[in-house]
Structures are given as structure tokens and as C-alpha cells.
């Protein structure tokens, strides 16, 4: 499944999510259909259970947040139940796509679909520099923590905002250097 063309995988995921969304809005036997498809694809993709559960748990936070909201309206319980099942199925379908397709392949596919150039550049640079900035942010937090002895909330807030501010300044400076490096190789 990892070697399948990303186009097919993206299209299949779209289809699966779209079909699931179109199902009736109360728990129904039809829901077994996407579930079965997922059950067949899961072992084929060799997606580890831990990976799926961890990500599913992250998604569950948002799902339940909205679900609580609807719980207040007693007549919408079946709607709510179906929404929870549906969104879990959809998240699993997305996870299969993500597990089998590195983001740069998805980017290549978007490029073939003539996605706007500015968005493509932004997405590509974002994907490339996300680990770099995450690392910088972690380094700054460690440096701050090594000489912070206060646990007062106001202080932590000020500290963290300072880190975010510095992170922005560093990103801006790096963007400038990247621009120069791109020009050095003929970009205009």
C-alpha cells in the first residue's frame, strides 16, 4: 500500500469519507460498510495499533468536545451517536492515508493538480521547516527552563510569549536568508 500511487490513495480516502458522510444520521447497518473496508485495508497497510490509537485519542478530544454540546439537546442523541461513529471512521480513513503516504507525495500530487503556486511554496517550506522550528523552540524552552526558578502562572505566560516572539523573529530572519539562498540558485 505504501507503493501505491498517491493519487489513488487520496481519491480512495475522499471517496470513503464522502460516502460515510452521506449515510443516514442515525446508527445504521450501513455503517459496517466503511468499517469493513477499513478492517480489510488496515492489515494491508501494516498500520501499527499504537499509532492509530494515539492519533485517534487526539482526535477524540475534539470530537467529544463538540459532542457534549449536542448532548444538551435530548432529541438529537441518535444524531450525536451517528456523528461520533462517523467521525471515528473518517479519522481512521485519514490515518490510513497518512500512514501510507508521506506528505511530500501529497504535495507532488497537489502540484500536478495545479494548486496555486504561492500555496505550494508555502506548504513545501512549511513542511521542510516545521522540524527545524520545533527544534529551535525546544532549545529555547530548555535554555529558559535551565535558569527559571519561578512557577508563577503570570511569569510562565510572559516567558512563553517571549519564546513565541523570539521564534517569530528567528523565522523572519531565516526567511530572509532562504530568500537569498534561493536567489543564489537563480530563483526570481
Amino acid at each position: 500500500m505504501h507503493r501505491l500511487s498517491p493519487r489513488i490513495k487520496i481519491a480512495a480516502t475522499f471517496l470513503l469519507v464522502a460516502v460515510t458522510m452521506g449515510f443516514p444520521r442515525h446508527p445504521d447497518a450501513l455503517y459496517w460498510l466503511p468499517a469493513l473496508v477499513l478492517l480489510v485495508l488496515w492489515p494491508l497497510a501494516r498500520m501499527p495499533l499504537g499509532f492509530a490509537l494515539r492519533r485517534l485519542l487526539m482526535a477524540e478530544f475534539f470530537i467529544l468536545g463538540i459532542a457534549i454540546l449536542t448532548l444538551l439537546a435530548p432529541e438529537s442523541t441518535p444524531v450525536l451517536l451517528s456523528a461520533i461513529i462517523k467521525s471515528n471512521l473518517c479519522v481512521l480513513a485519514m490515518l490510513l492515508l497518512i500512514w501510507t503516504t508521506p506528505f511530500h507525495e501529497i504535495l507532488g500530487e497537489l502540484r500536478r493538480w495545479r494548486f496555486p503556486a504561492v500555496m505550494l511554496t508555502t506548504l513545501a517550506l512549511m513542511y521542510r521547516y516545521l522540524p527545524v522550528l520545533a527544534e529551535e523552540s525546544a532549545r529555547m524552552q530548555r535554555a529558559r527552563a535551565s535558569r527559571t526558578f519561578q512557577r508563577k502562572r503570570g511569569f510562565v505566560w510572559k516567558n512563553l510569549s517571549g519564546i513565541i516572539g523570539r521564534l517569530f523573529i528567528r523565522s523572519a530572519d531565516r526567511a530572509e536568508r532562504i530568500y537569498l539562498a534561493m536567489c543564489a540558485r537563480g530563483w526570481r
Partner: protein, 322 residues
């Protein structure tokens, strides 16, 4: 506010994708016309920055924590159109790399957190800053903080509208719940937005504020975004808030969704028939929202005017103390 799949029905998902695409298109046109090529890599770095900043957790009361969303902050730093593109890219990566936020809900999330939050928040920032009639640092910090709060609340309202339109919850419930929660959450977003703006202003003021472009470009952006948000409000909020109960049917008819009218029963254009008193809850929320806006505005003004010199002074003391 990060909607997963499964909560919106197909119609709402499609409608919101339409307005989101329109919003991003306006932003793209604006960036193409006004941004220097030198600044293009900044968009990508800013997107990575927003993502990295969202991973930092701020402690809130009782062991819980919150984090920045960053739309209005990016708008204050880079200008609203650049911010719309940055947030759209952040949401795409979160969806396609981390399964965070749904695939069919991507348009809805882009519209709420990208277009509505940024444009409403930035407009609030702009108005608030003009009202101070000051170019001092505290004025920008205050306006950014207020904008951050306002943008968060505005996005929660269209989000509630989408949920109601999808029949997940009657408007009379969704609106008060979402708006009230986000009036509280927004305080955190506003505080962080203000504090970070302050941190950047203090050491590199030249980095704050995006490309302005000519007067005509600014007017185009203003008119375009206003029109778009009005359409969004008309689709997601007006059917419930309007005094004419057939508002939704009218819109549905116009858009050719009559066949789905059966489902619209669930949307319940008149939710107060089912749950008495809920109609007044929505009205109460609207009033609370107005009062909240005034309170937050004044609080942010006072806080910024008081805090900016204080933090600056403590900084000075600390450095002389060493």
C-alpha cells in the same frame, strides 16, 4: 473549534468549502499584487512558526492548559491576506499530515479559523488601534489583544451556525454554548496575541505589519472579505437569527436544496417550539456578547496601558540589577 469529519452534513460542508475557497482566492490575489518576492518565503516560515507556536501549552487554572491559534497574531505581524494563506496552509498540513481536523470539514475550518477569525479579528484590531489615537507600543499591544479575542468569538459563531445548519444541535443551544465558551477561551488567545506582539515590538518593531499595497488594493480586500463574511453569516447564522422563520427554506430553495428539505426538519428553524426558553437564551447570549465586547475592550485597554510600561520597567530593573 477544529471540526472533525462526521459532524457537518454534506450540504454545509460544500457551502463552507465554497466560501473558504473564495476567501483564500481573495488572499492569494492580494498577496500576488502587493507582496514583494522577497517576502514570499516568509509565508512558509510563518506557517511553520504558527504550527510550532500552537504546540506550546499555556497553563490555565486547575491543571488545564490552552494554546494559541495564531490567526490574528499572524495578521497583526504580516497583514490579513498573508495570514489567511498561512492559516489555510497550517490547516491543510494538520489535516493531511496529522489527521487533525476533518478532510471534508477542512473548508469549514478554513472559513472559521482562517477567514472569519482573521478578518473579524484584524478589523477589530484596526478599529481599536485607531480609537486609541496613539502610535505608542501599548496601543498596538492592546489592539492586538482585543483583536485576538474578537476573532476567536466571531469564528465560534459561524462554527455554531454550521453545526446548527447540519442539524447537530438547535441554534438556540449551539450558539449560546459555543459563543459563551469562546468568550472565555478568547481571553487566553487575546492575552497571548498581545504578549507576543509586545515581545516582537520590543526587539524588532520593523517586523510588525505587513505589506500595505495601494489604496485600491486595500479597498478591494476590505470589500471582498466583508462581502464574503456577509455571505457566510447569511448562510450559517441568518437562517436562525432572522425573525423570518422561512429564511433557511428560502436560502435552501435558492441554492437548489429543496430535495433535502426533509432533513431541514432536524435543523428546526424554530427550535423554541421544542425547548421552551431557548430562544431567549440566544438573545441573552447576544446581549452578553455585546457587554463582553465592551468589557474586554476596556480591560485590554487598561491592561495594556498598565502592563506594557510595567513589563518594560521590570526588564530594565532586571538588567541594571545584574
Amino acid at each position: 473549534m477544529h471540526l472533525p469529519d462526521g459532524f457537518l452534513d454534506t450540504r454545509t460542508a460544500l457551502l463552507s468549502t465554497g466560501v473558504a475557497v473564495a476567501g483564500v482566492s481573495i488572499a492569494l490575489r492580494q498577496v500576488r499584487l502587493t507582496m514583494q518576492p522577497r517576502r514570499v518565503p516568509m509565508l512558509g516560515l510563518a506557517a511553520a512558526f504558527v504550527f510550532a507556536a500552537q504546540m506550546l501549552n499555556f497553563p490555565v487554572a486547575g491543571g488545564t492548559s490552552g494554546h494559541l491559534v495564531g490567526g490574528v497574531l499572524t495578521a497583526v505581524l504580516l497583514g490579513p491576506s498573508a495570514a489567511v494563506i498561512v492559516l489555510a496552509c497550517v490547516l491543510i498540513v494538520q489535516c493531511l499530515m496529522f489527521a487533525d481536523g476533518g478532510l471534508f470539514a477542512l473548508g469549514a475550518n478554513m472559513f472559521n479559523m482562517g477567514v472569519v477569525s482573521i478578518c473579524a479579528g484584524y478589523a477589530a484590531f484596526d478599529v481599536a488601534k485607531r480609537m486609541t489615537r496613539s502610535e505608542a507600543m501599548w496601543a498596538t499591544v492592546f489592539a492586538a489583544g482585543f483583536g485576538g479575542w474578537f476573532g476567536t468569538v466571531a469564528a465560534s459563531i459561524t462554527c455554531a451556525g454550521m453545526l446548527a445548519l447540519s442539524g447537530m444541535a438547535p441554534w438556540g443551544l449551539a450558539f449560546p454554548a459555543m459563543a459563551n465558551i469562546h468568550m472565555v477561551i478568547g481571553i487566553g488567545e487575546g492575552l497571548i496575541t498581545g504578549l507576543v506582539t509586545y515581545a516582537v515590538l520590543r526587539s524588532r518593531p520593523e517586523l510588525v505589519g505587513g505589506a500595505q499595497g495601494s489604496r485600491a488594493h486595500r479597498w478591494f480586500a476590505f470589500a471582498g472579505y466583508s462581502l464574503l463574511i456577509s455571505i457566510g453569516l447569511a448562510m450559517f447564522v441568518a437562517p436562525f437569527a432572522s425573525p423570518w422563520p422561512d429564511g433557511l427554506e428560502y436560502v435552501a430553495h435558492k441554492l437548489g436544496f429543496e430535495s433535502r428539505a426533509g432533513e431541514a426538519v432536524l435543523v428546526s428553524p424554530l427550535p423554541d417550539y421544542q425547548l421552551p426558553g431557548i430562544g431567549s437564551a440566544a438573545a441573552a447570549t447576544a446581549v452578553a456578547g455585546l457587554i463582553g465586547t465592551v468589557v474586554v475592550f476596556c480591560a485590554a485597554w487598561g491592561l495594556a496601558k498598565w502592563l506594557v510600561p510595567v513589563i518594560g520597567a521590570s526588564k530594565k530593573n532586571a538588567s541594571t540589577g545584574n
